[in-house]
């Protein structure tokens, strides 16, 4: 379970989080939509424990071990191979070498990157790097996955496979929080939808049966006020 209570954070005069609260139980996926600078990345960084909020608190079962992060940066070392990177991160999450290797092969196979396991990371293409970053985030089978514009750099086939993987993870009880400015990208995964403007959740509600078009129209009205 993941709970955020009255989170507030500002960078100087700019409010990044303004009284943000929500609770997500197992299997829930919250997709946070907002324009650039709305505070989405700050929200994820606070949830992950990378930023201590100026007010409010985050309750996360399992602590940092339970979190997986996919963001703008891959968190991978260019001089190591994909497999060596995954073994390193697996070891930091307490996985034994054999277990880390087995999980790495599983995840890489799932992401269509198994044939690149022995390749040095700095020689990967942008899309391959993003898939390797996804594998890194999943190596320890996190209970909570925080995703910041996770489809960036993925081609159509890889994006479709990744969506499928995320849906499967949610089906296995994982909690997902995804931040994006693109309604088309994330909405089909959402059980809950939030619109974030100037740090504040101006809407937070279950998605219900609404499709991407309806939510996109709601979002457009919320952002433009028209």
């Amino acid at each position: 379970m993941l709970r955020a209570e009255s989170l507030r954070h500002a960078f100087g005069a700019a409010r990044a989080l303004d009284d943000v609260s929500f609770t997500l139980t197992a299997g829930r996926t919250l997709v946070v939509f907002g324009p650039n600078g709305a505070g989405k990345t700050t929200l994820l960084r606070v949830l992950a424990g990378l930023i201590k909020p100026q007010a409010g608190a985050v309750y996360l079962e399992g602590g940092r071990s339970a979190v997986g992060w996919i963001g703008h940066h891959a968190h991978l070392y260019g001089h190591l191979t994909v497999l060596e990177n995954l073994q390193f991160w697996g070891a930091l999450y307490g996985l034994r070498r054999v277990e880390a290797e087995r999980r790495a092969v599983d995840v890489l196979t799932r992401l269509g990157l198994a044939d690149r396991a022995g390749q040095v990371v700095r020689t990967l293409s942008r899309g391959q790097l993003q898939r390797a970053a996804i594998a890194r985030a999943l190596i320890h089978d996190p209970a909570v996955l925080l995703l910041d514009e996770p489809f960036t750099g993925l081609d159509l086939a890889a994006a479709a496979e990744f969506r499928h993987l995320l849906a499967e993870l949610a089906g296995r009880g994982r909690v997902l929080v995804m931040a994006t400015h693109n309604v088309e990208e994330g909405v089909e995964l959402a059980t809950d939808v939030a619109f974030q403007l100037a740090g504040r959740f101006v809407r937070l509600e279950p998605r219900g049966g609404r499709g991407a078009a309806a939510i996109a129209e709601d979002y457009r009205r919320t952002v433009t006020g028209v």
Partner: protein, 226 residues
């Protein structure tokens, strides 16, 4: 092995593997060591300054600035793909991150010293004889202290715009005392004076190590929090 040391060793091994693959910093530091020793040797007027009088200063100036290259590199590795955020997200304790960097830096600086010491003996034509092991002891004591402080300041400097300039500015005032004691002890050892004459310097170096290693470990978690 406790989680603390296991995670520290995982991080140190990763850093050393990256250095082994790239060899960039080691080669730079090795070339730097050779060149600085040569400058001291050929820049000296043999009719005015005896080699043995110049040797202690030359040794410590060379090793100090060669070590700067290692210390600068320690956290620059983590800037690639923002891997440092990944480390902070992981369940590894902040203390283990510091210890991992410290161990990696000690191995790196120790390797440079292992390369530089025979060259120093050769270029300055000094006879170590029974002073060899005491000199290695002085090297070890001084290196632990300034590498610990350097690792801490390297973590601090890396978030600034001019990290490579900031590190020497921050570090040199703090490492002057151990360098002074180490140079005094080296002078005595090269002059084949009795070991009792360097006891005071050794005590000061040991006390400096205990204090600054402890302080660095305790301060590191506060430096890396956002």
């Amino acid at each position: 092995m406790s989680d603390l040391w296991r995670d520290a060793w995982t991080l140190a091994r990763k850093d050393l593997l990256i250095e082994y693959r790239s060899r960039t910093a080691f080669l730079s530091a090795a070339v730097f060591t050779v060149l600085v020793l040569l400058v001291f040797v050929f820049g000296r007027d043999p009719t005015a300054v005896a080699a043995v009088d110049l040797a202690p200063s030359a040794l410590w100036v060379t090793f100090t600035f060669a070590a700067m290259l290692a210390l600068n590199r320690a956290f620059q590795l983590e800037l690639e793909n923002q891997a440092f955020d990944g480390l902070l997200l992981s369940p590894a304790s902040r203390w283990s991150l510091f210890l991992g960097k410290l161990v990696g830096n000690l191995v790196f600086v120790g390797s440079i010293e292992a390369l530089g010491l025979p060259l120093f003996v050769l270029f300055f034509n000094v006879s170590l004889g029974t002073s060899l092991f005491p000199l290695i002891g002085v090297l070890a004591l001084a290196t632990v202290g300034f590498v610990a402080v350097g690792t801490l300041f390297s973590a601090m400097a890396i978030r600034t715009r001019f990290a490579e300039l900031m590190l020497p500015v921050l570090l040199l005032p703090f490492v002057l005392p151990p360098l002074m004691w180490a140079a005094q002890a080296t002078t005595a050892l090269l002059a084949a004076r009795p070991l009792s004459e360097i006891r005071g310097s050794l005590y000061f170096l040991a006390a400096y190590d205990i204090v600054f290693v402890t302080v660095s470990i305790l301060l590191f978690p506060f430096l890396v929090e956002e």
